[in-house]
Symmetry: C2
Subunit: 377 residues, 2 copies
DNA sequence: GCCCCAACTGTATGCGCATACATCCTTCCC
DNA sequence: GGGAAGGATGTATGCGCATACAGTTGGGGC
C-alpha cells in the first residue's frame, strides 16, 4: 500500500539499504553525501537499493550526526492573530453560489502581505545557499515557546524586530545566530537588517514640501514605541528643520497607531472641523489610506486641496483614488538580506555584528501631484 | 558574547543542564516534556538551570529519539523560477531616489500570491495542531532532490499536484503521508485536497449564458495536460450541452497556456479580424486579463460588445478595467485543508484515502454586467 | 514499628546517520 | 613481479534526547 506512509511498518534506514545492496552503512551514507568517493558500480547498486526500498534519509539523524540541520528559520508575529481560532471543518456542500461582487476598497490586514514578500525573499536566498526555510508565526502567549521550539530546529534564525523579548533572543543567541529584521541599529551584539526609514521619510517630506508651498502640515505617527515609527519621525523632523524658517510649515502631530480606521476618524474630524492642513504625511500607508477615505467622504480634494503621502509601498496604495505617494520598502530584499547575513555569520561566527541598511525609493503618485489628473487605464 | 551563536563553544545539552541542576538527564527531559511528572521544587531548579545555561533542546535529537519531528512540509514549484538567479548583493548607497510611478496594469507573476495564501492557511492549521511548517519551493532540475530532502524532515508532506513526478511521490509516501493539493481525484492511494473546478466553471458558464443571448462563445483553455484545465473544460462543456439546442452558442476553443501575454495576442487577432464572439470564457484569470488588455487596445467594449470571464479570483482581477467576473478559489482553505488531512492521517494511518473538494464561488463583476457602468471610487 | 504503595528520580539503551580511522584492493612504476 | 600510493570500503563511535525499566523515597495503614 502506497499511501500508508511511514506509520506501522517502520521506515527504511541506512541499515536496510546497506544490507540490500551488500555494502556497509558508511558506503550508503557516502553515496548520498559524497558520491564521488564511491566507485561507479557500487554507487549504482546502492542507488538501486535506495529506490527499491523507498529510502529517504532521516534529517533528524543526519542533523544530529552532522551537528547542523541545513535549515534557517523565519519568525514573525501574526498581527491578525485572533482571526482564525476556529477549527477547520470541511464544507462539502455542492452548490456554487453566484454573487455580485461590488467594487470595494481593499480590505485591511495587508500586514500579512508584507510578510509574504519577506518570506519569499528569505526562501529564495535560503535555496541559493542550499538551505531550507522554516516559518514560524507567533500568536499570543504561545509565541515564546514557538520561537524556542523553532530555535532548536534551525542553524540560524531571522526574527522580526520587536516580536520577541530581548531576554528570549539572548537565550536563543547562545545556541544559534540571530538576525533582527527591520529593527533599529541598537547597541547589541545581534546582526541587523532594515530599511533606511529615516532617509526615506526625509526624502518623502522633502518631496512634499518642494511640490508647492505648504503652510501647515500634519504628521500622523504610528505606534511611537516602535523603532520604525521613531526613525521615520526623525526623518520627517529633519526635513522640517532643514528648511529656512521663512517657509517652514506649521506642524501638528497626531497618532493613529498604524491603523487605517483610526486615521479615517482623524481625517473626518479634521475635515468637518474645517482645519485642513496643506499636507498630511503618514508613518505608513494604511493610515494614509484612512486619511484618503475620510477626505473622499467629506469631499476634500486630494491632491488639489491637500497632499497626502504614506510609507511602505503596500499594494493597496497603487489602487486607491487618488493613487498614493509613498516610500517603497524592498520587502523581498529584506528577507533575502536576512538569510544572507545569517549564512555569512554561519560561515564566520567571529565576525563583528553586521547591520545592513537597505535603500528605499520614493514613489510619486497622484496623491501629491497637483495638476491635470492622470487618466486611468 | 551574545551574538556568537552556537559555533565555537558547542551548544549546551541536557547533560550540561542535568549537571548544573544536580539531577539526571531523564529528569531534565521530563521537565521539558511532561512537567507534571516532576516535583515542583525539582522542576524549578531545572528550569533555572535551563535559563542560566541558555539551553535550547535540539530538535534533531528529539526527533530521532521520538521518531517524529513535529513538522509538516509544503512543497510547490516556483513558476517564476528563473527570476532570481543573481546572488544577493547588499546595496549600501545612501541616496533615496524619488521617481514618478505612473499607473500601470498589474505585473504578472501573481502565481506566487496564489501560493502565499495556501501557505498562510497551511501555517495556521499546522499551528492549531502544534506543528511547524516547512516550506519547499521546487526550482528546475533541483526539484527532485529538494522534495526528497524535505520529505526526510517532516512527518507529513503537502504537495501541489503536478509539481512532483508520481514516481517520486510514491517513493516518499513509503516514508510519510502525502497529500496532493489541487489535483484531480485520481485512482491512487494518496489523499487529495482540491476545489470544485467543474462545478465552478459550470456555474460561471451558466451565469454568462444567462446574462444575455450568446450566439458565439470562445473558450480559452490553459495547459490541457493539467487536471485543473481538464476539469474546468468539463464544467464548461456541461453548461453548454445543458442548453437547448436552439439557444446553444456556437463554440470556438483555443489555448493560451495560462499566459496573459498569449491571451493578449489571441485577443488582438480576434479584434483585428473582426470575428469577435459574444463571450470569452477563460480557464484562468491571467488569460482573461490578457483578453481584456487586447480588447481595450482595440477599442472593443467589454461588457457591452463582449462578455469576459476568468477563473481563480486573483487580486488583479479586482483592479482591472472593467473588473473581472471570475470563480473565486478558497486558497487559504486549500492550505488549511491539506494540513488538516495530514493530521488526520497521522492520527489514523490506516484510514482509506480521503478526497476533500472545497466549494468555490462565482464573483460577478463588471466584465459580465452590461448596463450602466458602475462608477469607480 | 513494619510493610506496601505511590510518587519520583536515575540508569541504560537505541533512535539513524556522518565520519575518523583502519583495512583491503587496485594500479602503476621500476 | 614486488611494492608503494592511492582509491575504495568497512568498523566503530558519538551526536542529544526520550523512554522503558529499575531504583529510591516518603507516607499511610495496621
Amino acid at each position: 500500500m502506497i499511501g500508508g506512509g511511514g506509520m506501522g511498518a517502520k521506515a527504511t534506514t541506512v541499515y536496510d539499504v546497506a544490507e540490500h545492496a551488500g555494502v556497509s552503512i558508511a558506503t550508503v551514507s557516502r553515496v548520498l553525501r559524497r558520491p564521488g568517493d564511491v566507485r561507479d558500480s557500487t554507487r549504482e547498486r546502492v542507488l538501486a537499493s535506495v529506490k527499491a526500498l523507498g529510502y529517504v534519509p532521516s534529517a533528524s539523524a543526519r542533523g544530529l550526526a552532522a551537528r547542523r540541520t541545513g535549515v534557517v528559520g523565519l519568525f514573525f508575529p501574526d498581527f491578525d492573530a485572533m482571526r482564525e481560532t476556529t477549527a477547520f471543518v470541511p464544507d462539502r456542500s455542492g452548490a456554487v453560489p453566484v454573487v455580485a461582487d461590488p467594487p470595494a476598497e481593499d480590505a485591511t490586514g495587508s500586514d500579512l502581505l508584507y510578510f509574504d514578500e519577506v518570506l519569499r525573499g528569505a526562501e529564495i536566498e535560503a535555496w541559493r545557499n542550499g538551505l531550507v526555510l522554516l516559518v514560524g508565526v507567533g500568536r499570543g502567549e504561545d509565541s515564546l515557546s514557538i520561537v524556542s521550539d523553532i530555535a532548536g530546529r534551525v542553524d540560524g534564525l531571522a526574527v522580526l524586530a520587536g516580536s520577541v523579548p530581548d531576554e528570549m533572543l539572548e537565550h536563543i543567541a547562545r545556541r544559534i545566530p540571530v538576525v533582527l529584521i527591520a529593527g533599529p541599529r541598537r547597541d547589541d551584539e545581534f546582526d541587523h537588517v532594515s530599511v533606511d526609514n529615516r532617509a526615506g521619510m526625509r526624502a518623502l517630506a522633502d518631496h512634499v514640501f518642494d511640490t508647492r508651498e505648504i503652510d501647515g502640515v500634519l504628521y500622523v505617527r504610528g505606534v511611537a514605541s516602535t523603532p520604525d515609527d521613531a526613525e521615520r519621525f526623525d526623518g520627517f523632523s529633519e526635513a522640517l528643520s532643514a528648511r529656512a524658517v521663512a517657509d517652514r510649515p506649521g506642524l501638528s502631530v497626531v497618532s493613529a497607531e498604524f491603523s487605517r480606521e483610526r486615521a479615517r476618524v482623524i481625517g473626518s474630524s479634521l475635515a468637518s472641523s474645517g482645519h485642513i492642513p496643506d499636507a498630511v504625511i503618514c508613518a505608513n500607508d494604511q493610515m494614509a489610506l484612512g486619511i484618503l477615505d475620510a477626505f473622499r467622504d467629506h469631499g476634500v480634494d486630494v491632491p488639489r486641496r491637500v497632499l497626502v503621502a504614506g510609507f511602505d509601498g503596500i499594494d493597496a496604495g497603487r489602487h486607491s483614488e487618488p493613487r498614493l505617494t509613498t516610500v517603497e520598502q524592498p520587502m523581498e530584499d529584506l528577507g533575502r538580506a536576512a538569510v544572507h547575513v545569517l549564512t555569512q555569520r554561519l560561515a564566520n561566527p567571529s565576525q563583528p555584528p553586521v547591520t545592513l541598511r537597505l535603500p528605499v525609493k520614493v514613489l510619486v503618485r497622484e496623491s501629491t501631484t497637483p495638476g491635470p489628473p492622470t487618466p486611468r487605464g
